[in-house]
Amino acid sequence: MTRSFETGGAPHMPPQTTVAAVMLQVLLALVPGVLAYTWFFGPGILIQIILATFFALLFEALMLRWRGRPLKPFINDYSAVVTAVLFALCIPPLAPWWISCIAMLFAIGFAKHLYGGLGQNVFNPAMVGYVVVLISFPQVMTAWLPPLALAEYSPGLVDSLVTIFTGHVPVAGAWDAVTQSTPLDTLKTGVDAGRMVPEIRSAPIFGDYGGMGWEWIANWFALGGFFLLYKRTINWHVPVSVIGSVILLSLPFWLADPDSNPFPLQHVFSGGLVLAAFFIATDPVSGCVSNRGRIIFGAGVGIITLVIRRWGGYPDGVAFAVLLMNMAAPLIDRYTRPRMYGE
């Protein structure tokens, strides 16, 4: 007695993982860093994350509709959420709500969907969104808070909500009283003014390595990064080469002139470098495909970051470095194709 069956393609085994699972792992790895951030700087960051996520999903749905694509698998794959969270971690915790809106419009609408959607973006969407608002609204984007331990005014949840949605600071009235420049910014203006690095570093805003609070956040992000390495969600090549190139490049400068150049580890633990090394530069879509290519990519990010930090106009150049290397990634891929079996 014969029986008929439906046919289907190989392999004929249960699938191992899904896109959503990969994205969720990344989000999970970000949790320790976000908690540390909240601990040191207050609940503003959580509101920013929720805002950015909302706008990201909104624009993703709108773009999918406009492009005639089904919503179902793409909204659920959490890739827009990852973009939103990474962006939110780069902006000041009290930035107005419309910053997230404009940034996510550019990140999801332009950088992701106009290039073809998931898996097709040439540039890292979170960085595109960040750079657009950074250049367009420099004043708002440099209104950083000091760590809670140092601040005279520490906004609670309600105060943060009011500030973010209305743009006014409820207590004290003026932005100047509330904000303070970041450690990197302090360092840069100090060096440009001719002061010596050790003297600048004696300010309370600096911790042992990077900025107070900032270095711990970097540690926790690194922890999340190690989790991703263990799960094989990211390769070790990019983080090692980003951090390694920063250390290797800043070491001779510091050895030659410790008064005008920060200690290498200080570079590593300041700004968004650790976040970029483990979460942003490792974005597979806009990075390189081969391991050798990834090392070159990471080295490029590290070097350009240092150059912008030292000689450029912005205190932290990670975002620009990542975008520039995104441009170079296809060329690097072309020249670092791995040797095939038997070649």
Binding site: E6, A10, H12, G117, G119, V289, S290, M340
Partner: protein, 527 residues
């Protein structure tokens, strides 16, 4: 160390050390074996089915020409088809030929093909067998001819005619014969059962093949948890008194049973791109092929049956059979407790590389090493296919160190030059990349399609090149004719103008006419 930087000669020398140490290949996966469920019971021959459907295409090469027609009586082992220079097809039973017609056969296309349908008479009467007497002293060419007569093909899945591989090996002075017993795909256990139950036959076949190839040593590769198998084979080798047969355990990482990966594991060398293992002085055969060689040469029996695993969550009592070629799969399934309730798909081969079949009256062929019945749970997919997120997992696991995500993009957009450059022809279709892809892209299907397209484009470009050349040659010829005619015309015109020599020319013409008489014996008046 990049061993391909060594010269080929030094690689061949290094290959003589095959099996002394084991090496690694890039990528690969640790898969759950799922083999124990089919190894519990000893291998049996199922009862004779009512009808046997013997396809005429069971080998790499052309379709065999049938030698029999409907109504004829055949004996067991009688040749019923031949494809020169590929393999012959033999009848698996004695009985009557009911028809020679198109029936479903185990072909990846799912298309039916010409088959000889035989109704067995139950007598199992053999045709007169002609083994090679005293094979130990027979010439290698005699052994190869017998292998060819008995229709032997590679039973590892590629069904390449064994005699052709052996002859090619002889020509290239092979020094090592590798027997591949490292069955790496999950669920399949037929080779392991063969090695457990008939180690002597495998060793005998190895010795015959070694003589036919002119090789010095034999290396039998088995998986590292096959302890009992190693003991059995080593003892058999010792009993046979044969030196230079070693049994080597290789680490179980799918797909270590692939020919190229196995050679890399045993020698650390890579088969040159576009080349064959015989370039390194090695030939690789499956253990079941070796056993079949022993049957053919020592007993004269053609290839008409093979070990096959019937397994999967969709089968009630999975086990291995020694099945006749042409047995419908439904017959085997009935012999092992029938399907379970939630069976959903039938696959011929393993879960990584197998082909699905639409109906279970498809017959067993020489290439069928496994029938896998999968349930709905096995094939359920929670996520539809998503675009590639370029995570790079596929490149991490590829045993041929290719870049599957690039190949997929190139095939999809038709960049065929780059497909060539990125080495699609080196892909062994193992399915590792497919297995790890988070976007559930059917990469193996894309690569099979890509290879087909490449072949088609290569054939087409050959044909157009030929057509262009013929056209140009024809144009050149026509031009030449025109020029020659024009020259002749000018010369004639010149001659006409030359009134002075006219008298001479008329005299020469008359002389030529008279000469013609002498030559042919006739005068112009006679003609």
């Amino acid at each position: 160390m990049n061993k391909t930087a060594m010269t080929l000669a030094s690689q061949v020398e290094l290959a003589r050390e095959a099996g002394r140490h084991t090496h690694h290949f890039h990528g690969g996966l640790h898969l759950r074996h799922n083999k124990k469920i089919s190894c519990r019971d000893p291998v049996v021959r199922p009862a004779l089915p009512e009808l046997l459907i013997v396809p005429l295409l069971q080998h790499a090469g052309d379709i065999a020409e049938p030698f029999v027609s409907a109504g004829e009586k055949v004996l067991k082992g009688q040749r019923i088809g031949q494809c020169q220079p590929s393999a012959a097809v033999h009848s698996p039973v004695s009985g009557t030929v009911e028809a020679v017609e198109n029936r479903p056969m185990s072909h990846p296309s799912g298309q039916p093909g010409p088959c000889v349908v035989i109704r067995p008479d139950g007598n199992e009467q053999w045709v007169e067998l002609e083994p090679v007497s005293d094979w130990e002293n027979a010439s290698p060419e005699t052994l190869i001819a017998k292998i060819q007569d008995c229709g032997l093909v590679g039973l590892g899945g590629a069904v390449f005619p064994t005699h052709a591989k052996t002859r090619d090996g002889r020509d290239r002075q092979i020094h090592t014969l590798i027997l591949n017993g490292s069955e790496c795909e999950p669920y399949i256990s037929c080779d392991e059962m063969l090695m457990r139950e008939q180690p002597d036959k495998i060793i005998l076949g190895a010795r015959v093949l070694r003589r036919a190839l002119g090789a010095e040593r034999v290396v039998i590769a088995i998986e590292d948890q096959m302890g009992a198998v190693q003991k059995a084979l080593t003892r058999a080798a010792k009993l046979a008194g044969s030196k230079n047969i070693s049994v080597v355990k290789v680490m179980t990482i799918y797909p270590e049973g692939g020919e190229r990966q196995l050679i890399q594991v045993l020698t650390g060398l890579e088969v040159p791109a576009g080349g064959r293992p015989s370039d390194l002085g090695m030939v690789c055969q499956n253990v079941a092929t070796a056993a079949a060689v022993a049957d053919a040469v020592v007993e004269g029996k053609p290839l008409i049956e093979r070990y096959i695993t019937v397994t999967g969550n969709g089968i009630s009592q999975p086990r291995n059979f020694q099945a006749l070629v042409g047995t419908p799969f439904s017959h085997l399934v009935a012999a092992c407790g029938d399907y379970t309730d939630d069976v959903a798909r039938l696959v011929v081969g393993g879960p990584m590389m197998g082909y699905p079949i639409a109906t279970d009256d498809t017959p067993v062929v020489k290439a069928s090493n496994c029938l896998l019945a999968l349930t709905h749970r096995d094939i359920a997919d929670p996520q539809p296919e998503m675009p590639c997120i370029r995570c790079g997992e596929c490149a991490r696991v590829c045993p041929a160190t290719l870049l599957p995500q690039q190949l997929h993009l190139q095939i999809k957009t038709g960049l065929w030059d780059q497909v060539q450059e990125y080495g699609l022809s080196a892909c062994i279709e193992c399915g590792c990349c497919d297995y790890v892809c988070p976007s559930h892209i059917p990469l193996v299907e894309w690569f099979r399609y890509g290879k087909g397209e490449q072949r088609k484009r290569a054939l087409e470009s050959e044909a157009t090149e030929l057509a262009r050349k013929r056209f140009e040659d024809r144009e050149a010829r026509l031009l030449r004719f025109k020029q020659e005619r024009a020259e002749k015309m000018t010369r004639r015109k010149q001659l006409l103008k030359d009134k002075a020599g006219r008298g001479d020319r008329i005299r020469d013409a008359i002389a030529r006419a008279e000469n013609r008489v002498t030559r042919t014996g006739e005068t112009p008046d006679d003609a």
